[in-house]
């Protein structure tokens, strides 16, 4: 019987594994790798939770989801209430359940991790959220009367979407402006289908629209409209345009044919569906040997995409070791299972080309780990004379992104830090009254959940701001 287990009994249950597509098959298709828990697996896993009085997991969650509460409701078979509980803490749990780095957030804190393995909080979140998506009715028509206030949101990534939903619920008229032709931000152009099905993002977007949010694609703020124009036409503005400027390595040969930024590579495949070419119109070079430079989620997504595009070999080139890989543990595991190679302690020095200026290899230098750098991570140092050539025909550069200056450069009054990120106060308000910002444009490349947290906080702050400006 659920709920009646003793702690001893709970401790005896082992962590349940996520059912997956077979690794050989999935490395040749773009369908989702994780298949999701069955009801049985979910209930079993839910029973592993000890319902701690002071749940450490919650302290690890950037938005403080009440984790034991939804797991308890799930274990008791009250899935509809579990869903309600989860959704009131987190607007897009089907998404975060798939992409959050649980192993460094909630799960790393879980007390069960000390003696065995932590509760699979992410998998349970995904299970409850997917159930809710399949069973929910239309969104509640706003319970709050319209306030008559208008808010513009710039960017339709997780920060923008979360803020838009919360603001609409508070009765404000929200318009989201998106530069691309499809809303979702990194969720649609960056993170691949096999990790986050686009159908889920589309459903969440449609739901927002049904709740009254207006989403306008093909509007580049800074070009189609300037920020000062938006300030005139709206009572408040939320800037959530992400950190979409790709950083290159600045080594010779980076403009050879066959070198992509990860943003371009993934955008071609995800947003433009280049993997279906010539059924779709956007092409992509399908390398036989693809080298991906970097060690984060973006690098893992790129290298696994290369595999799926038919590369014989797809390799990660990373200048530190496996222990320092910033990517989610699950992505690294999946990549390994799919046959991705890893070249650790290697730093590219040059992209080498053939006589027709197509990429033919990556010249690298071996590194060793030295003293910790200011971020606390061991600093890679080159080993003199250790050069080697990695033959390849496509190179994908996934060494980071920065704030895109397109919008901010059209509004010099907006205060930025040295990296070009927008500066905000504790409420998420920028140096311009009524203009708020959040997500990657403030934090630099961060995470989906932090972007959503910013959206939520900004919605609250914007609501306060608008209420105040009414009473004045």
């Amino acid at each position: 019987m659920p709920g009646k287990l003793t702690t001893q009994q709970r401790l005896r249950i082992r962590r349940q594994n996520m059912p997956e597509q077979d690794s050989a098959r999935r490395a040749a298709n773009f369908e989702e790798v994780n298949l999701g828990f069955s009801e049985q697996l979910a209930l079993l896993e839910a029973d592993r939770c000890l319902q701690c009085k002071n749940p450490r997991c919650v302290t690890g969650c950037p938005v403080g989801v009440n984790i034991p509460r939804f797991i308890d409701l799930l274990a008791k078979g009250k899935i509809s209430q579990a869903a309600q509980s989860l959704l009131c803490d987190n607007a897009l749990p089907s998404i975060t359940g798939r992409v959050c780095p649980q192993e460094t957030q909630c799960e790393v804190e879980c007390v069960r991790g000390a003696k065995s393995q932590p509760v699979a909080i992410g998998y349970l979140e995904r299970y409850v959220a997917d159930w809710a998506r399949a069973h929910r009715g239309p969104p509640a028509t706003t319970t709050t009367p319209p306030t008559g206030k208008r808010v513009a949101v710039v960017g339709s990534g997780p920060a923008g979407l979360t803020a838009a939903g919360d603001l609409a619920r508070r009765g404000h008229a929200v318009t989201v402006y998106e530069a691309l032709h499809k809303p979702g931000g990194v969720l649609v152009y960056g993170i691949p289908e096999f990790r986050l099905p686009k159908k889920i993002v589309a459903q969440e977007v449609r739901r927002l629209e049904e709740a009254g949010v207006k989403i306008e694609c093909n509007v580049v703020v800074g070009r189609t409209y300037t920020l000062p124009e938006l300030r005139e036409r709206f009572d408040a503005v939320f800037i959530a345009n992400g950190a979409g400027l790709p950083v290159f390595m600045r080594v010779p040969g980076e403009n050879l044919k066959g070198v992509y930024s990860a943003n371009e590579y993934l955008t071609r495949v995800n947003l433009m569906a280049a993997y279906q070419f010539p059924r779709t119109d956007t092409p992509i070079l399908r390398g036989q040997r693809v080298a991906v430079v970097g060690g984060g989620n973006v690098a893992m997504d790129s290298v696994r995409t290369a595999k799926r595009l038919g590369a014989e070999s797809a390799a990660i080139v990373y200048r530190r070791t496996r222990n320092e890989l910033p990517a989610r543990t699950e992505e690294v595991k999946h990549a390994e299972e799919e046959g991705v190679q890893f070249h650790f302690l290697a730093a590219p020095m040059e992209v080498v080309g053939n006589d027709k200026r197509w990429v033919s290899g990556l010249r690298c230098l071996r590194m060793k780990l030295g003293a910790p750098d200011p971020s606390g991570r061991a600093k890679p140092e080159p080993i003199p004379g250790s050069e080697f050539l990695l033959p390849c025909d496509v190179v994908v550069v996934a060494v980071g992104t920065r704030a895109n200056p397109l919008l901010t450069s059209t509004c010099p009054e907006l205060k930025l830090n040295r990296q070009g990120n927008v500066l905000v106060d504790d409420n998420g308000m920028t140096s311009l009254p009524g203009v708020f910002a959040g997500g990657d444009i403030v934090r630099g490349a961060a995470t989906v959940i932090l972007a959503m947290g910013d959206g939520k906080r900004a919605a609250r702050a914007i609501d306060d701001y608008l209420n105040k400006s009414t009473t004045i």
């Binding site: 318009t175 530069a179 691309l180 032709h181 152009y189 207006k214 306008e216 694609c217 093909n218 509007v219 580049v220 070009r223 189609t224 979409g244 400027l245 790709p246 290159f248 980076e254 403009n255 044919k257 066959g258 992509y260 930024s261 943003n263 371009e264 955008t267 071609r268 433009m272 569906a273 279906q276 070419f277 010539p278 059924r279 779709t280 119109d281 956007t282 092409p283 070079l285 399908r286 038919g310 200026r357 895109n404 200056p405 397109l406």
Partner: protein, 354 residues
């Protein structure tokens, strides 16, 4: 009579029938306030007269005896064949028509699964809410675009993108256009002339029928036409004519837009004269917002993103060889794409997996 009437632009066809317009035809001198479920058309004031000039709209207006003012966003208002391979489309895009500046471009995506391709805004009529795209049909996407008929529409159109052209305020400018590049030079020449700059143009084409925008440029100043085969104007390349003009002196700046080899030749020529030269680069683009880096070009040994840092650059600094080379990156795919469109997808598939 200048009562305001409402005009709706819609994106989704289902909305189409429910949205309405005006009471009667006598309003032809009225102002139309654009309402829309897309504020790219919002609050722009258009004249009905301007709109009526476009028959595409007029046919859409008439329904059950009353005028129904209704147009889909990015509807094709007019289509004109300029040369065997070059077509002019006037497209409804009121916001862009109002604020675009010379040198800027849009990115269009015709329909689901189509490519995003950049096209220069060759002209705009703020009153009619339209922009002109002049398109040379070179591959699948451009071929599909020029096949559009008035009344049909483009699914996605974003802009205006890129930096406006660097202008001079007085003096003399030489505008050089090759092929469809002449359409890109035209708005620049227009803006220069409006500032009081003396404008002379040299335009080229393969043969007589390939010369475009001659008449429009003649309104702004003297025009010399060059054709490769001598069937019209002077026989030879635009660079030959440009050399003479530069020899004569008095040119403060040159604007050169056309095929990459022509822009390279122009830059080499003007370098020896020490005359500043602006060229408009056309690398492959996707987003047009600086997000992908696919449009990167080398200018003065620095990597720049043409969509946000350009598309116009100092021609004396541009690495044209690299641009040419990068433009050939998808050549094989372009042929497959066409083959597939022509019904032979098998061929395309085979090539793409090889």
């Amino acid at each position: 009579m200048s009562e305001e009437i409402r005009m709706f632009f819609v994106h989704e066809k289902p909305f189409f029938n429910s949205l309405i317009g005006v009471e009667d035809r006598t309003l032809s001198r009225s102002t139309v306030r654009c309402c829309s479920n897309n504020s790219a058309g919002l609050e722009s004031l258009l004249t009905l007269e301007g709109l009526m000039r476009h028959r595409a709209i007029a046919t859409m207006l008439d329904r059950s005896g009353r005028i129904q003012l209704c147009a889909e966003m990015h509807a094709i208002l007019a289509r004109r064949q300029l040369s065997p391979n070059v077509t002019r489309l006037d497209v409804l895009a009121p916001r862009i028509a109002q604020i675009r500046q010379p040198g800027q471009f849009v990115i269009v995506r015709l329909q689901e699964n189509a490519e995003r391709i950049p096209l220069t805004i060759a002209d705009a009529d703020a009153n009619a809410g339209s922009i002109a795209l002049v398109i040379q049909s070179v591959g699948k996407s451009t071929r599909e675009l020029v096949a559009l008929k008035p009344g049909e529409s483009i699914s996605d159109l974003v802009g205006p993108l890129g930096h406006p052209t660097e202008m001079i305020e007085s003096g003399a400018a030489l505008c050089v256009g090759g092929g469809v590049g002449t359409a890109v030079v035209h708005p620049i020449a227009q803006a220069l002339a409006r500032r009081g700059v003396r404008v002379a143009s040299i335009i080229g084409g393969r043969s007589r029928e390939w010369v475009v925008f001659e008449e429009e440029l003649r309104r702004l100043g003297p025009v010399e036409v060059c054709t490769d085969d001598g069937s019209y104007g002077r026989k030879g390349f635009v660079t030959d004519a440009a050399r003479q003009t530069l020899d004569a002196g008095g040119i403060d700046i040159v604007y050169a837009v056309g095929p990459v080899p022509m822009m390279r030749a122009m830059a080499n020529l003007t370098r020896s004269f020490g005359v500043r030269t602006i060229v408009s680069l056309n690398p492959v683009m996707i987003d047009g917002t600086g997000m992908c880096g696919g449009c990167r070009v080398s200018v003065g040994n620095e990597t720049r993103f043409a969509c946000v840092d350009g598309p116009e650059f100092d021609g004396h600094q541009v690495n044209f060889d690299e641009l040419m080379d990068r433009l050939s990156m998808y050549r094989e795919f372009e042929q497959q794409s066409i083959a597939c469109a022509d019904g032979d997808c098998r061929l395309g598939q085979r090539a793409s997996s090889s």
